[in-house]
């Protein structure tokens, strides 16, 4: 057992399994155990990726998808944050708004796709609307929760020191709710890509989802698999960005600062 334990200490240890799977997949495909109609080999997928990079198509598709995701996140996240701040601070606003919002939250937003297509057609607006709706709730919920859980001792301290209005918001409310809001952002990023994939698969004339659906019609399985990998990479990238943001913004918190 000793060599195994030694290997586990290697910094590349987490990559052993994926590499093993890739090699097996390649061998099984190459010797015909897996039909290329079921799953193309990793090398074929890589070739498809290289071809798409050469032609430059890939950059246009990734750009279009990222732009949609970004606009949707900004719109939905912005509204969610604002409503979260209002409902977190004001008991009255919360009484009027929260239960209606909770009702909407319980409708799966992807179930609205037929309605959204009828409203906005199949253009950009429909996809941005869906993404915005998807990211709204995680950010809204976590902002309200973050503001509600601010230490009442600090709120009282702010009263003693005359922190009111915007100063109170800047010094106490926002930083106090931030760790919770960032959890909301990470959830929202997950919903963002999920929603976009579905929306682009249903109707699009550009983007990664369009690329995959187009490839399906020509039975280009290698491109389909490559598109799926692209989504995985983009999802991982945005999660890492959120993590870095967390570490930067919450560096005062001993639970986050890893020195």
């Amino acid at each position: 057992m000793k060599p195994f334990r030694k290997l586990a200490d290697n910094r590349y240890a987490p990559f052993y399994l994926p590499v093993l799977v890739l090699v097996l997949w390649q061998l099984l495909g190459q010797y015909g155990y897996i039909s290329t109609r079921t799953l193309p080999t990793p090398l074929r997928v890589a070739e498809a990726g290289i071809a798409l990079t050469r032609s430059g198509d890939i950059f246009r598709y990734v750009y279009d998808s990222t732009l949609r995701a970004g606009i949707g996140l900004a719109v939905g996240g912005g509204i969610g944050f604002l409503l979260g701040v209002v409902n977190g601070l004001s008991r009255i606003a919360n009484r009027y708004l929260d239960s209606s919002l909770q009702m909407i939250r319980n409708v799966p937003h992807l179930a609205l796709i037929p309605l959204v297509i009828l409203w906005f057609g199949i253009g950009e607006t429909a996809k941005i609307f869906l993404v915005a709706l998807g990211v709204f709730f995680p950010i809204y919920m976590n902002t309200v929760h973050g503001i509600r859980s601010i230490d009442p001792g600090l709120v009282e301290m702010a009263r003693v020191y005359g922190l009111r209005g915007f100063a109170f918001y800047r010094e106490v409310v926002l930083p106090g709710a931030l760790s919770s809001i960032l959890v909301g952002v990470r959830y929202a990023l997950g919903f963002m890509w999920l929603t976009l994939i579905v929306a682009e698969t249903i109707s699009a004339d550009s983007g990664i989802g369009y690329m995959a659906m187009n490839a399906r019609e020509f039975m280009r399985l290698d491109i389909v698999v490559f598109a799926i990998l692209l989504y995985a990479v983009l999802g991982k990238l945005s999660d890492t960005a959120a993590k870095l943001l967390e570490r930067r913004l919450l560096r005062w918190n001993p639970n986050y600062s890893k020195v």
Partner: protein
């Protein structure tokens, strides 16, 4: 911070406070001259913290009148006056601001230079850029003291600020508060349940019992105070009154819920 200014004169006339059915303060009459250091002692729930919160403007009295230099405190329903600062039992620093930034909260001008000066006064200038999370309990309370004093208050309210500290840190903090009070001349009102702390720091000790003033003693001892026979005399006088002990009689059937 070296400017010697005059503390505020406090006048409290038949102040009452009820929370629903429960009457916590049943008519307090008290005049505190400018610059005096007053300690308020009493058992838990006697209303001493409530009185302090009235002075801080965090609660409004149900009846009676509280004035600061003849200016009614009822006229500031929005919180605390600019010339009044409060030190809480927990330091209540903003955990997302460095020590210096926390002190700046106490300054209208937000001058960093003045904040560092105030930190130097409490011996923490070199920790100016430390997060509160890495400071010890005593250091946090010193930052809170710097924050309270940097705005040059005329009235400093202390709500058991040393209760959570260990014995040695506590003595250091007592000496620090005494020194800064002597230098700056503000009026100080300290709420504590530690009688010896009250005797060590205050010019005058007030005992509150069931929402009324039960005892008002001037501590006629020189500063800095030693734990000599005079000190023990005052300590015993107040403690006996709190525990309702007849002098020189051992309490046997009384339940002692008093804690130091």
């Amino acid at each position: 911070m070296s400017t010697h200014r005059i503390g505020a004169r406090l006048h409290i006339q038949s102040a009452r406070k009820s929370f629903g059915e429960q009457e916590v303060l049943r008519g307090i009459d008290l005049t505190i001259p400018a610059g005096q250091f007053v300690a308020i002692v009493g058992r838990s729930g006697c209303g001493k913290s409530t009185l302090l919160r009235l002075l801080a403007g965090l609660e409004q009295p149900t009846g009676g009148e509280l004035t600061l230099d003849g200016d009614s405190l009822g006229g500031h329903p929005n919180g605390t006056r600019n010339d009044t600062r409060m030190l809480f039992q927990d330091a209540r620093l903003l955990p997302w601001r460095t020590a210096a930034d926390n002190v700046q909260v106490g300054l209208r001008t937000r001058s960093r230079e003045r904040a560092i000066e105030a930190l130097a006064e409490v011996g923490l200038a070199e920790r100016a850029d430390a997060w509160p999370g890495v400071l010890s309990g005593g250091q946090r309370q010193r930052v809170a003291l710097a924050r309270a004093l940097v705005g040059e208050p005329r009235l400093l309210l202390l709500d058991e600020p040393l209760g959570a500290l260990d014995a040695l840190t506590r003595i250091e903090m007592q000496q620090l508060i005494e020194r800064l009070w002597e230098e700056q001349g503000f009026t100080a009102v300290l709420v504590t349940h530690d009688v010896s702390e009250a005797v060590a720091l205050a010019d005058r000790v007030i005992l509150i019992e069931n929402g009324r003033i039960a005892l008002d003693v001037d501590i006629a001892l020189d500063r800095p105070r030693e734990r000599d026979s005079g000190f023990i005399h005052f300590e015993k006088l107040i403690l006996d009154r709190i525990l309702e002990r007849e002098p020189a009689e051992a309490p046997r059937d009384r339940k002692l819920s008093y804690s130091i």
